[in-house]
């Protein structure tokens, strides 16, 4: 079984596009494109909103509302949006299917980013905030120079879990005719070609792993040393109940 999957992955024919089939590089690129678009939109929506809610303490119901989005069944929303949107697009365009897919992926990515950003800003110690205000910083300066850097670790972990979910879920794009690595899974399922199907699953898992490594590396260099405790022998932030709780709340998948 494992041997068959490796053979499938190794077969040069599966790395080339033909008239009928798209190869691994093309589907990988499509998958990454779907993922990046969804993450960029989600980040643009959730990050400023989370910072605002955390900083001002207003509109906190939005965080609860976003978390309630998790209860929506992904396939159901995808099918609903597809039957509404896709008939309105004519000609050689996939937009009628791309738009519903991206909406579903953004729905998935917003809650972890939003709730982690909010929790991160909210958890900044009052002492640090007061000190900054005492130094004469304005509200925006406190947010930019104190609250944002301090909450960066949590924001990153929210973004990382959003990335994992979006990569895993982008496979359902193939349920509504689109490409991406999910095409190998759904095609393999219908053709009863298990090596192809499992090969697709392996590729998705690999992509998720690499993306997480990349983000971990970026996080390492983006987060201030004073906060991450990097290079220091003693951890600055104790592993207390609050962080543990936030960490568990962010994980979820399709």
């Amino acid at each position: 079984m494992i041997g068959d999957v490796l053979t499938w992955l190794n077969d040069p024919a599966h790395w080339r596009d033909t008239r009928v089939d798209k190869g691994i590089p093309t589907q990988l690129q499509t998958h990454i494109t779907f993922t990046l678009i969804a993450l960029a939109i989600a980040l643009a929506l959730a990050l400023p909103l989370g910072l605002f809610i955390g900083h001002t303490g207003r509109l906190t119901f939005l965080v609860t509302a976003a978390n309630a989005l998790r209860a929506l069944p992904t396939v159901g929303v995808l099918v609903l949006l597809t039957v509404i949107i896709s008939p309105h697009f004519h000609g050689r365009t996939d937009l009628g299917f791309v738009i519903p897919t991206e909406i579903v992926l953004v729905f998935l990515a917003v809650p972890p980013i939003l709730s982690n950003t909010y929790a991160g800003v909210q958890n900044v110690s009052a002492a640090a905030r007061d000190a900054a205000a005492g130094m004469g910083m304005t509200g925006t300066q406190v947010l930019r120079k104190v609250e944002l850097p301090c909450s960066l670790p949590l924001i990153f972990s929210g973004f990382r879990s959003a990335t994992l979910q979006v990569i895993a879920t982008a496979t359902v794009a193939s349920y509504v005719t689109l490409g991406g690595l999910g095409a190998f899974i759904y095609d393999g399922l219908q053709q009863q070609d298990f090596p192809q199907m499992i090969g697709g699953g392996v590729l998705v898992a690999l992509l998720a792993l690499l993306a997480d490594l990349l983000l971990a590396t970026i996080q390492r260099y983006a987060v201030s040393r004073g906060i991450s405790g990097r290079f220091s022998t003693k951890s600055v932030i104790p592993a207390d109940a609050a962080t543990a709780q936030v960490r568990t709340a962010e994980a979820s998948t399709v």
Binding site: M1, L164, F194, Q245, A251, T253
Partner: protein, 233 residues
């Protein structure tokens, strides 16, 4: 004719009428969906408790445990569903494929949650309990686990809610559950969108997820009376 008309309305708001027309089938799928979402979490917790405890007790186990569970979690659910039968030598359409795959996800999620939950027990509390005379096992069950309940419950909420969504995906490969409503809606959207089954499926899935969530929140309150005592003071 009037009857046929009412049952063929494709308005999104007709989902309740659709439910009444197909009550037997829909209730069966709701029940299937319920136990398919629930049982894996229960089994997952039973497996994750000792694993989480081990990785808390022996610190070197924690990083590999977290990496492996994180990796398992990145496998798309649809891929895991179809991989389970050939890997375990089950029949190709075995109804067990869904609960087994979901149990894997639940374990992957809960191992880390249990370990983090146990880590959330303040060191001085554990020391005090040891001083009072608790031995290792009774310390775990009577002090550490109860204190970890809120963290573990948060993990259980995430696991059940995401399971409800994942079970629906299994409906698209022929397993009997609420996900079949989405497939039906898709197949019947021939002359225009046919909303009732799709909307009904979403409504029932959300209600199911919210019910589970409330039950876990309620259960957590029952299990952690001291938290209310503190709030009430």
């Amino acid at each position: 004719m009037i009857l046929a008309d009412s049952s063929s309305s494709s308005s999104p708001l007709h989902f309740w009428g659709y439910f009444l027309d197909h009550r037997a089938e829909d209730l069966r799928w709701l029940w299937d969906h319920t136990y398919l979402s629930l049982i894996p979490v229960v089994i997952g917790l039973v497996i994750a408790l000792p694993l989480g405890w081990l990785s808390r007790r022996y610190g070197w186990l924690y990083p590999p445990m977290v990496s492996i569970s994180g990796l398992l979690y990145t496998i798309p659910s649809i891929a895991l569903f179809v991989m389970v039968p050939p890997l375990l030598g089950l029949k190709s359409l075995d109804p067990l494929q869904v609960p087994i795959a979901l149990t894997v996800y639940s374990v992957a999620l809960l191992v880390r949650v249990v370990a983090d939950g146990l880590a959330s027990v303040p060191e001085d509390v554990a020391q005090a309990a040891t001083a009072v005379g608790y031995k290792r096992l009774s310390l775990l069950f009577r002090v550490e686990l109860p204190i970890a309940v809120p963290v573990i419950a948060a993990g259980l909420r995430v696991a059940t809610v995401s399971n409800v969504s994942m079970v629906a995906i299994a409906g698209t490969i022929g397993q009997e559950n609420l996900g079949r409503l989405f497939d039906q809606g898709k197949q019947l959207s021939t002359t225009g969108p046919y909303y009732p089954p799709i909307v009904l499926g979403i409504v029932l899935c959300v209600l199911l997820a919210l019910t589970f969530d409330l039950l876990i929140v309620f259960g957590t309150r029952m299990l952690t009376p001291w938290r209310r005592a503190v709030v009430g003071r």
